[in-house]
Amino acid sequence: MRGKKSQVTRYAYISVASFVLIMVLWEAFCRLGFIEPIFLPSPSQIFSRALKMYDQGTLFLHVIASTRRVMVGFMVSSLVAIPVGLFLGSSRFFKAIFDPVISLLRPLPSMSWIPISLLWLGISETQKYSIVFMGSFAPSLLYIIESTRNIDPILIRAAENLGATKRDVIKEVILPGAMPQIIAGLKVMLGIAWTCIISAELVAAQEGLGFLIMNAKEYFQTDTIFLGMLLISLTVIIIDVTFRRIEGRLLPWTR
């Protein structure tokens, strides 16, 4: 055990060292004048930009704006997709009814919804939510329908044999049985939701991480662009880690 643990720490040290080395080299190349700051700013420039924006109070404004949009859009989409998906997954009849619509919606990239959403909803928050919703709903739905297919039919029989009604079966067997796959699917969808919101903000927004980097482009603020990209990356990582933590608690029987 100890041997394995010390090995893990050793690899962690290697990763940290490699990160520091890259940063040092990047900084050095910029300072020595090999690279124009307007083309690629040095890490210290990006860092001081972050400090400046923090002082102005605008740093987290954009992070919060984007995160809120993703969360609202993603939650609404999940809250609709999970029950509808479970229902369609357990009824061939209704799945047949909705199949054509889903098949047509699914291939549409979220960006293709931007023009019509702008016309319908204007440059509003609702429009941002709707982009996240449209981008993640159809794939989520398909994922959830698919996850109900992998439930051992014998468990459904066992439940019915013990007196479960159709509704009991959905609640007691299909939902928990599909849960591990639903969660795995939602994790992927959360990534897609971030792609949706950044593209929506790149096109039309007054705040948010997508807006931040697009707006900085207008003023040739490459340090702000890189800072924005870094913030997008960090935010997604933090949310992903949090999601992983919750996942274990939601599925105690898989541990």
Partner: protein, 268 residues
């Protein structure tokens, strides 16, 4: 004592047939089968693989409907899945996301029984199958034998009139199987359920049953219907008795003929 109860059979199978349409055409799984079971009988059905034993159990449980004929449970037509017939599957069919306690309580929960009452009954049946201390374990942490005990407790807790067991011990090792057979025999004596038990082990049939039905090769029909008059408890000395050997030979002769037939069928 109860005159009506002894007149109406617990289960009556009347001329049922079951046909499956497969890619290769219609397969007659069961053809024109009739028999009846009185309350409290322990019926073991023996037959070669693919003779329609499981199909018969599915029909009695109400999972599928016969193409012809009908099945009566206490005089009433079986028209859907019926909780009065508790099923025990070879693959245990425990809910992996529920603890032992929650699995055993499942039938009671479906009856909308209050939680505290459920818990008491659940505990009682977990103790009955000797799994006290495992109430909060998930099925994943249990051995095959323990899983099947949970499954038996789950069916019993629901208090069905009839218990249907589909080769319940086939996947277990010999020692565990023997322990569970003895446990089931005790439960049968104590709770007086009507039991239909499917197996391909003649010894298991002789050890447990009060009556044995041997099915023919496909299409399934009754080849032989034997009352098992071996004395209880069926311990080692019974297993060595002349009557045991005699019954075993009689059953084996029939089964062997049917196995050979079914092998010829498969070779076609």
């Amino acid at each position: 004592m109860d005159k009506v109860g002894s007149v109406i059979p617990e289960i009556e199978v009347r001329g049922i047939s079951k046909i499956f349409d497969t890619k290769e055409g219609d397969v007659v799984a069961i053809k024109d089968m009739s028999f009846s079971i009185q309350g409290g009988e322990f019926l073991v059905i023996v037959g070669a693989s693919g003779c329609g034993k499981t199909t018969l159990l599915d029909l009695i449980a109400g999972f599928t409907r016969p193409n012809t004929g009908q099945i009566l449970l206490q005089g009433r037509d079986v028209s859907g899945v019926n909780p009065q017939c508790g099923m025990i599957f070879q693959q245990y069919a425990l809910f992996p996301w529920k603890t032992v306690q929650e699995n055993v309580e499942f039938g009671l929960k479906m009856k909308r029984m209050p939680k505290s009452e459920r818990k008491t009954i659940g505990k009682e049946f977990i103790e009955l199958v000797g799994l006290k201390g495992f109430e909060n374990s998930y099925p994943k942490a249990l051995s095959g034998g323990m899983k099947q005990r949970v499954s038996i407790a789950r069916a019993l807790a629901n208090d069905p009139k009839v218990m249907l067991l589909d080769e319940p011990f086939a996947a277990l090792d010999a020692m565990t199987r023997q322990v569970l057979q003895e446990q089931l025999a005790r439960i049968y004596e104590k709770h007086k359920k009507t039991i239909i038990f499917i197996t391909h082990s003649i010894d298991e049939a002789l050890l447990l049953s009060s009556r044995i039905i041997i099915m023919t090769a496909r299409p399934g029909r009754i080849a032989q219907d034997i009352a098992n008059d071996l004395p209880h408890p069926r311990n080692a000395s019974v297993e060595l008795s002349a009557r045991y050997t005699e019954l075993k030979r009689e059953i084996w002769d029939t089964v062997q003929a049917e196995v050979l037939k079914s092998m010829e069928l498969e070779a076609d």
